[in-house]
């Protein structure tokens, strides 16, 4: 890269890969976590650790609390009780997040480049303008998600698969250590779905920790190193207490 700023942010990542070889430290620790909206608890009394190098898939039927849990992990929802702790020096601005696309965004007048660059707003510094290092990094992320040719295109005129890859490029710009994905392939055709998964697989291979909520059980589980299953649990005792199966594939 030959650039100071980017070299600094890479430093954290190199140290992590050394850590992985010793023992995978936790990135996020949930302890007796209860999450919910209004009076309703959706996830309750939940203990879990997300570790460095995980490819964690959260599966389960609609309304069981997958997205709620991810929002909790992303810091968008305050725990009603218990705690979510960022460990191993992880900061919010090192996390990339791919939320489900909103109605507002579908008709938003913005270029792809503007959207991808907006990922840097959480980074340190005042940032009234973007420097060259950031622009180059944005182009890299667009190249990784095969959207660099769309840089000047208008977001609202893209196809569903292209939109999703642009939002992944944005998440990637923000993600230095951890990437959270909320149903990244919903509404995509098989071809775009495959493209999306292969990009995510590649990222994980290069040391990114992945937490993904998905409906697409079969495909997702081929890649995942850990699975959190929300199914069949809710009925017994009200709010979800997901079972987890670790190291399913490795």
């Amino acid at each position: 890269m030959g650039n100071e700023q980017w070299a600094m942010s890479n430093l954290g990542r190199t140290m992590n890969s050394e850590d992985i070889q010793k023992k995978n430290p936790s990135l996020i620790k949930c302890r007796q976590l209860t999450l919910g909206y209004g009076a309703k608890s959706i996830v309750s009394d939940f203990d879990y650790d997300v570790n460095v190098g995980d490819y964690l898939c959260i599966i389960g039927r609609n309304g069981c609390g997958k997205t709620t849990l991810l929002r909790g992990l992303a810091g968008l929802l305050k725990p009603r009780s218990g705690s979510i702790e960022l460990c191993d020096g992880l900061r919010r601005n090192q996390i990339g997040y791919l939320p489900q696309i909103t109605v507002v965004q579908k008709d938003f007048p913005a270029s792809v480049e503007e959207i991808v660059l907006s990922a840097f707003q959480g980074k340190k510094g005042f940032l009234p303008f973007y420097g060259r290092a950031r622009r180059e990094r944005a182009m890299e992320c667009m190249a990784l998600t095969r959207t660099e040719s769309l840089a000047k295109a208008c977001f609202r005129e893209l196809s569903g698969g292209q939109k999703q890859r642009v939002l992944l490029a944005r998440a990637l710009c923000a993600a230095e250590r951890l990437l959270m994905l909320d149903e990244p392939v919903t509404g995509l055709d098989p071809e775009s779905t495959d493209a999306m998964y292969s990009i995510i697989r590649e990222l994980h291979k290069n040391g990114m920790t992945i937490v993904m909520v998905t409906h697409d059980v079969d495909t997702a589980l081929d890649d995942a190193t850990r699975v959190m299953d929300f199914n069949n649990i809710r009925r017994e005792n009200g709010p979800s207490v997901p079972q987890t199966r670790d190291e399913r594939c490795r």
Binding site: G38, P109, L117, S118, A119, Q121, G122, R156
Partner: protein
């Protein structure tokens, strides 16, 4: 030629020059934030806040405050913060809250003006405040300085935090999850909007403020495709329309506020047709 001579004649008067300076600055500020408001689906907030400002003005006139801005500005800012920053989990939903506050403030304001006013021409006063028929032409030098100061502050904040405002407008959740203090910038946006509404009330009157906020943004969004070009275009459209509106109003003797809004409507249809032709 006679039109130009007539204009040159009017330009001799300081109040005409004040009106033009204030008009350009206010329309610039309101259109910049208008893009964010429209995209965040908050178009109606401008309207609600202007009614609150009207209510505050009524209270200020009862107490015969020499500088009614001292009351109107803080009250409007507080209401803007309450409306924009309380979040989605409140018991009364956003749109209902806006409707409630806006109609309530309007009614109470009119009621108070009727009960306590010493003026002989209450309906005239109210009409002026609501439609801004003359206030833009009765500005004092001190009003102009205040307006210029506040506009420059709003512009500076907008330019410095342009990228943050974009990030939060496009995807507040993502911004928050990746470490942006979204609550702080929502607060900042709320304050700026309140300031703009109060300023714009001078120009077009309380009932027409949201036209100034909404029309230029919507016109620009018909044709332009990136946030930056939309913002620049909205600002340009708004300034040109306001300038044209003020000049037409002076020459033809029409009310300033509604003439400006009429210009904005014409521009909107112009851009609408352009986008329609392009898409064919």
């Amino acid at each position: 030629m006679p039109i130009i001579e007539k204009l040159a004649f009017y330009m001799e008067f300081p109040f005409v020059r004040y009106a033009i300076i204030v008009g350009v600055l206010i329309s610039l500020c309101s259109s910049l934030l208008g893009v964010t408001l429209v995209l965040k689906r908050y178009s109606y907030i401008g309207d609600g806040l202007s009614h609150v400002a009207f209510g505050a003005l009524a209270v200020a006139s009862i107490f015969k405050l020499t500088n009614n801005m001292l009351l109107i500005l803080p009250v409007t800012i507080v209401v803007a913060i309450l409306l924009l920053c309380t979040g989605k989990d409140t018991r009364i939903k956003g749109d209902a809250a806006v409707a409630m506050v806006s109609v309530g403030a309007l009614a109470i304001g009119y009621l108070l003006m009727n009960i306590f006013s010493s003026s002989a021409n209450i309906s005239g006063d109210v009409c002026t405040t609501l439609f801004g028929s003359t206030s833009i032409l009765t500005l004092k030098a001190s009003d102009v300085y205040l307006c210029v100061g506040l506009s420059v502050a709003v512009l500076a904040v907008f330019v410095l935090f342009y990228n943050k405002i974009f990030a939060i407008t496009f995807d507040e959740k993502f911004a928050q999850a990746t470490g942006v203090n979204a609550a702080l910038f929502n607060l900042l946006i709320a304050i700026i909007i309140a300031v703009i509404i109060v300023l714009a009330m001078n120009l077009v009157g309380a009932l027409l403020v949201s036209a100034l906020v909404v029309f230029p943004a919507l016109s620009a969004m018909r044709v332009f495709k990136s946030f930056f070009t939309v913002t620049v275009a909205a600002a340009t459209i708004s300034v040109v329309c306001s300038l044209a509106g003020i000049l037409v109003a002076i020459l033809a003797g029409t009310p300033v506020g509604s003439t400006i809004v009429a210009m904005d409507i014409v521009a909107f249809f112009g851009f609408y047709i352009t986008s329609f032709i392009r898409s064919r």
